[in-house]
Symmetry: C2
Subunit: 233 residues, 2 copies
Amino acid sequence: MKTVSTAEAWTGTADCRNCAIRQSVLFARLDEPDFDAIHRQIDQYTFSPGSIVYSQDDAADAIFTIRTGLVKLTQYLPDGTQRIVRLLQSTDVIGLEALMLDRYEHAATALHTTEVCRIPSSVVRELLQRKPQLFNDLMARWHRAVSDCDRVITELSTGPARARVVRLLLWLAERKGDRQCDLFSREDLGALLGLTTETVSRTMAELKRQGWITEPRINLIVCDIDRLRAALG
Amino acid sequence: MKTVSTAEAWTGTADCRNCAIRQSVLFARLDEPDFDAIHRQIDQYTFSPGSIVYSQDDAADAIFTIRTGLVKLTQYLPDGTQRIVRLLQSTDVIGLEALMLDRYEHAATALHTTEVCRIPSSVVRELLQRKPQLFNDLMARWHRAVSDCDRVITELSTGPARARVVRLLLWLAERKGDRQCDLFSREDLGALLGLTTETVSRTMAELKRQGWITEPRINLIVCDIDRLRAALG
DNA sequence: CGCCCTGTTGATACGATTCAAATATCGTGG
DNA sequence: CCACGATATTTGAATCGTATCAACAGGGCG
């Protein structure tokens, strides 16, 4: 059995004013005084691959902004199998339900090394009082969550295995703005695509044989975007 | 070819104060003066099965509360096939993206006879100004949308055909608080479950043969809840 | 070095899709 | 109201794709 190999590390309070992704962040519209007021309450953490940001049913009192990395959100079915319902990366927010509920509805697990800012729900609520325009930003986050879900349904859970894998690769490459994408375990790929690890493995092998993708380093995939697109018909 | 057989009918302005589902509605927390101020801007419509509440990419300037009935939200894949991403019914809100975007992201189609209240985005925005606590209710709606999506992913898009059909029947019966559920076309069932109509048809036939369900009237399914649950393992 | 975990590959069985045809149902006009 | 054509549903047979079970290779770590 796999031990949850690695833990998270606290890496200081946030330096919001010099944040590299500040313009893309939930609080992008706040100004200096606001940041001064809140940044002490925002902690930064680094999670190594496989470590858990929060578990399903954990007490939920904070949301997290992903600064770098990749996170999966999983839910367990009654029969014990798990399914990945969303994949989140830089500038995405996870745990929004902490603003409504007192338990997280998913488990959030780092797939790559991931830096996050932990923002207590209380901070968000205070800011909402003072800056109602934050409503719009928050709503945009909810909207993004729904769009992501829609995409998982229509593109990653529909059609034959090859199409699902290809759509995922294209999506990851597109988000990276690159021909490349960093992948993760075949098991997680399966849980995301609704396939078994063996099927994912076979499909990837076939894509390589066709020359549509190459894997110069392990879990680093270089895509022939045009041919992959063509393969979707 | 199927003509879009039936149109919607305007059935008057809303009578919010005497609304049968008032306590479950987005504006549940508003008081009389608020309702007086807005109800003139809220129109009621009735859609018959198959008619379209709005289409993907239509100009989006209103959200809709479903009073009665059942609505599907569909999205088209690049290859032209469509997939149902959510099923909405009484007290649900559709078209929330109208508060953020100027186009609807899905097509919304009535599956059963459906009554809706059309609430212009401008009304929602005005109310948000005056009653910031409305934001919590709005956020709860977004949250419900995400939860619904999660359910479509984990329960309706995962596992073998039989399990998906059974989970859907149980879900519909549960929402109805009943052993019964009103179904819709096999084609739509397929689009919701990620299966072909033939597979759905066969699966339903098998469930009937096993005695897990009966269909006294067409599209009215009576479930043997316990046995269906047991069948899921 | 050896063990464990992950990924790969193979053989087989199962399940879903596909194509085709028959049947049932719905809507319409005579 | 019935008959007709159009549409939806059911069923069948063959094919294809995926899951399953099992064995094996490679890499990382103690």
